[in-house]
């Protein structure tokens, strides 16, 4: 995250970054020194080219994460998952495949469950993201979190944040009316430890006990 640069100016898309940097990097090589102006060498040594590149390659993004507004700059190629994990240090959201095949990265975007590895951070301008870190109300756990503990809906815990985010959405969508329906609508969330029956129990329990929104 580079908090110092929040300008809304659109970066120039047509600069050939690679060529420019190649020149700078090459020009810092000994063989090229005699050909390069002194200031350019200094710039290369100070890695100014890379700082320049960073500024150009990033887009401004306003995004609300767990109730907190974030004004950041982010490369367009950064997934929502990596943005959360690597830039915001919200590592509760997990990476299990990076390909939309496991559900470990499930978060809520405006209340709907989304595989954060399959979407880019910059697509969520102005959206509200909720991650596992934002589910509890301070020290008071969300009923789904309580139910997962009570029913032992996990072992290693790595799929758990994704399962819980998915489970909360599953009930909100109205897809938790029977155990079979829960199984069907939770099948995008893999648990290799195999805690499935306990996860289904936890969801059924919350559904039966009523869920706080």
């Amino acid at each position: 995250m580079k908090p110092e640069d929040t300008s809304n100016e659109k970066p120039h898309r047509h600069i050939k970054h690679t060529e420019r940097r190649d020149f700078l990097k090459k020009s810092s090589l000994l063989t090229a020194i005699s050909l390069a102006p002194g200031s350019l060498i200094k710039a290369a040594e100070a890695e100014l080219d890379e700082k320049f590149a960073s500024a150009l390659e990033q887009l401004p993004l306003s995004i609300e994460v767990n109730g907190k507004m974030q004004q950041v700059n982010v490369e367009p190629r950064v997934t929502l998952l990596d943005f959360l994990r690597e830039q915001l240090q919200l590592t509760g959201t997990k990476k299990g495949c990076d390909h939309g095949q496991c559900g470990a990265c499930t978060v809520h975007v405006d209340g709907k469950r989304v595989n954060s590895c399959l979407s880019l951070a910059v697509m969520h301008q102005g959206k509200k993201i909720t991650t596992i870190e934002g589910l509890a109300n301070g020290d008071e756990l969300h009923p789904m979190q309580e139910a997962f503990i009570k029913h032992d809906g996990f072992q290693c815990g790595y799929c758990t944040p994704g399962q819980i985010m998915s489970a909360v959405a599953c009930i909100n969508e109205g897809h938790a009316n029977s155990k079979d329906e829960i199984r069907e609508f939770m099948s995008g969330n893999i648990c290799r430890c195999g805690a499935y029956p306990n996860i289904v129990d936890a969801i059924a329990d919350v559904k039966n006990g009523g869920q706080k929104a």
Binding site: H17, E50, G157, Y158, P161, N189, C191, C193, G194
Partner: protein, 736 residues
């Protein structure tokens, strides 16, 4: 919704995991989740041939890409002092040889993950390609006796006696290649604190093993290597050893002088961290007409890599599971141009039990006996392999309880005779076993002035709930409430704990915790008994009890431990102790046992198999924590459902490469595949193995399960599918 809970109420209402809150709130930190200032990101470049040599590596474009700090390959890798002739395994970036498809050939280190990932695509590698062999079936003629002397042929009585039996059977079975695929991708953060001092956050099931192997590889004093693994997102065996990517990350950090985080991608999880080897088996079984076994022959041929031999106990179970005078086994390996396999949950036995337990079912039908009755007729009261008594064995009881739970005797035994809701219905059963051990382990226990007990050991927990069990053992043995007890793990600087594998953690570590708490109690009592004004003055340890933080001689004569510490003016008292089994253990055969019963539905037109009910019984001594034990059993069954119905790593042998190396194409069970599972525990302490009487259960939860499904599919359809996984095409294609 009726049928609210799978587990019975007492388990649900019982104590929960001590680390549960961290896991459900996202606070639990796994290997890749430790923030360190100045951290760089490493991305591996993998070979795109299975065999040959690297002709050239052009890394210029990658080096010039923004944010790139280093590109490392065999051309410029820092030398690794431990890569000598004695080194076992793949030496990363060592020379230009390519030994399997997907071998790491270069590492790109950059200041962001995206930059490293992009730059890795810019590294151009050319190869001189040789012809590779990855098909076991095409290379069976090259099968060889392993170099490992423990794997030589075994004969008891007469070899191949089944051939002369009154009733006999000879069939072939196949276990395909399976991949662990824990949900957490293997990951490491390597951080050199000085030239000869390194700290790693690593995904490992064996903290001390990882410490030792890094210290050996880089020739560092062991104490200069610190390994942290607070949380491990599953392993199932894949994190039981140190792999090349871990060394690569250490090299990247060394070269750049900055901490480097390296996370494998899911494709790399198929080639870089082991798998269960493809294994072809032949079973020969012979019996008298009335069902007494007269011969057991089990042969297996498994794949291994060319650069390292991997062997496992595939044929062992056939030596001791049933009473039989004649038994023999043969185990062979075929070297392939693949990465080396490794232990995967229920290693060896999970593969072997599929053949043995299917064959037992087949022979039972040939003999017109109920498969359960046939097993009981050949029940081994003592270990047939060595004549030793079992330290404890309640398999007979397990058979009975499981049969009752699933309604075994209410079924019509005739194949293809039952239907419900338009589905063919089948019931199947099988059993499993795995050695029970007691390795050495060290723990420390500290009682604080505020009355809290802290127990510690250098172990990691990949899911079974080690901290939860250890808290339970410590609080019970110390006579203190569990809420006042904590267990600290995940750091190699703690007293050396066991590796979490082979279902041995609870036995080894639990014993150490038990013994350490005992020693701490003795020490506290000694202090109290020496105080002239103490109600316990000159009392004997045998006469006192520890309850609720008090040392009691009688109701009126007691000392609160907190008062004792206050009086002595010490903040805490601690004991560190190594614990191991004694000679006595050698007199016994020690095993855990399991029984699996399953009911399946087979769709008559499509051949789709659905598991609709499971009852699984564990005979694994005393159960320390019922909730986590039940979790282990349903987890094992879930793995077994995958093994039985969907999991299979497939190669394109023309290129020697995986073609389903992702979670969309390699099918692990999902929610919709897993029904209600009843878990039953015999819960009788083993009087021999350790002070708690607890044996392991991680492996037996899975071992044998796939056979129960195959047998149920036979019962439903009259078709024997002997090659896993049992996919619809096989069901539809098979003959009755």
């Amino acid at each position: 919704m009726k049928d609210l809970s799978s587990n019975n109420k007492s388990i649900v209402d019982g104590p929960s995991r001590v680390d549960g809150k961290h896991k459900v709130t996202g606070k639990a930190r796994y290997a890749a989740e430790h923030p360190i200032d100045g951290m760089l990101y490493g991305v591996l470049v993998d070979s795109t041939i299975a065999k040959g040599t690297i002709a050239s590596i052009d890394s210029k474009a990658a080096e010039w890409a923004p944010g790139v700090k280093a590109v490392i390959s065999h051309l410029n890798s820092p030398k690794i002092p431990g890569y000598d002739d004695k080194f076992y395994g793949l030496k990363v970036f060592f020379n230009n040889k390519v030994l399997f498809y997907g071998q790491p050939v270069a590492l790109v280190v950059a200041d962001s993950f995206e930059r490293a990932l992009h730059a890795a695509t810019l590294v151009k590698v050319t190869y001189n390609k040789d012809k590779s062999e990855t098909s076991v079936d095409k290379n069976l003629a090259n099968a060889k006796l392993p170099g490992n002397p423990r794997m030589k042929d075994y004969v008891r009585g007469e070899a191949d006696a089944y051939k002369k039996a009154e009733v006999s059977l000879e069939e072939e079975y196949l276990m395909p290649l399976e991949v662990h695929n824990p949900m957490e991708l293997h990951a490491i953060i390597a951080h050199w604190l000085a030239d000869d001092k390194v700290k790693v956050y690593d995904k490992t099931q064996g903290i001390k093993d990882t410490q030792e192997s890094i210290s050996k590889t880089f020739k560092l004093p062991q104490e200069n290597v610190q390994v942290i693994a607070e949380y491990v997102g599953g392993g199932f065996g894949s994190a039981l050893r140190t792999w090349p990517h871990e060394i690569a990350a250490l090299l990247g950090a060394k070269k750049t002088g900055r901490p480097v985080k390296l996370v494998l991608n899911r494709m790399q999880m198929f080639t870089m961290v082991g798998y269960r080897p493809y294994t072809r088996m032949k079973m020969g079984l012979g019996a008298t007409k009335d069902g007494k076994l007269t011969g057991i022959t089990h042969e297996a041929t498994a794949q291994t890599s060319r650069y390292e031999e991997f062997t496992e106990a595939t044929v062992n179970m056939s030596k001791f599971m049933y009473k039989c005078a004649n038994a023999n086994t043969r185990y062979r390996l075929v070297q392939m141009d693949v990465s080396v396999p490794t232990w995967m949950r229920g290693p060896g036995e999970a593969t072997g039990s599929f053949a043995l337990e299917c064959a037992m079912d087949e022979l039972a039908y040939k003999l017109d006996l109920d498969p359960l009755e046939f097993r009981m007729k050949n029940y081994a009261e003592v270990d047939p392999e060595n004549g030793k008594p079992f330290s404890s064995k309640h398999l007979d009881e397990a058979y009975k309880l499981g049969a009752e739970k699933i309604g075994w005797y209410d079924r019509n035994r005739k194949p293809a005779s039952m239907k419900e809701d338009g589905m063919l219905v089948g019931y199947g059963m099988s059993s499993g076993t795995f050695g029970a051990f007691r390795w050495e382990a060290t723990a420390s226990a500290r009682i604080n002035a505020d009355g809290t007990l802290v127990v510690q050991s250098a172990v990691s927990d990949c899911g079974p709930g080690t901290a939860t069990s250890m808290v339970q053992i410590a609080s019970e043995s110390f006579g203190i409430d569990a809420s006042k007890t904590s267990f600290i793990l995940g750091d190699s600087a703690l007293p050396p704990g066991p590796t979490q594998g082979g279902s041995g953690t609870t036995s080894a570590l639990g014993s150490a915790v038990f013994d350490t708490c005992l020693a701490l109690k003795k020490q506290l009592h000694e202090i109290a008994a020496a105080e002239q004004d103490s109600p316990l003055y000159q009392s004997k340890f045998e006469d006192v009890k520890f309850e609720d933080g008090d040392i009691l001689l009688s109701r009126s004569k007691k000392v609160a431990i907190t008062d004792l510490l206050k009086k002595k003016n010490v903040p805490s008292i601690a004991v560190t102790l190594e614990s191991k089994g004694n000679e006595e253990l050698q007199k016994y055969s020690m095993y855990s046992f399991s029984v699996h019963f399953a009911k399946v539905h087979v769709h008559p037109l499509t051949g789709v198999v659905r598991v609709v009910q499971v009852a699984t019984v564990a005979d694994s001594g005393k159960i320390i924590s019922e909730k986590t034990a039940a979790g282990q059993m349903i987890g094992g069954v879930t793995g077994g459902i995958g093994m039985a119905l969907t999991e299979e790593g497939v190669f394109d042998d023309r290129f020697g490469k995986f073609i389903n190396n992702n979670l969309a194409d390699y099918h692990v069970p999902v929610h919709a595949d897993v029904p209600h599972i009843d878990t039953i525990f015999i819960n009788k302490p083993d009087p021999i193995i350790n002070p708690m009487g607890a044996k392991g259960m991680g492996e037996i939860a899975l071992i044998g399960f796939a056979a129960a499904i195959a047998n149920a599919v036979y019962h439903a359809t009259g078709k024997r599918i002997r090659e896993l996984p049992i996919t619809p095409d096989k069901v539809m294609g098979a003959e009755v």
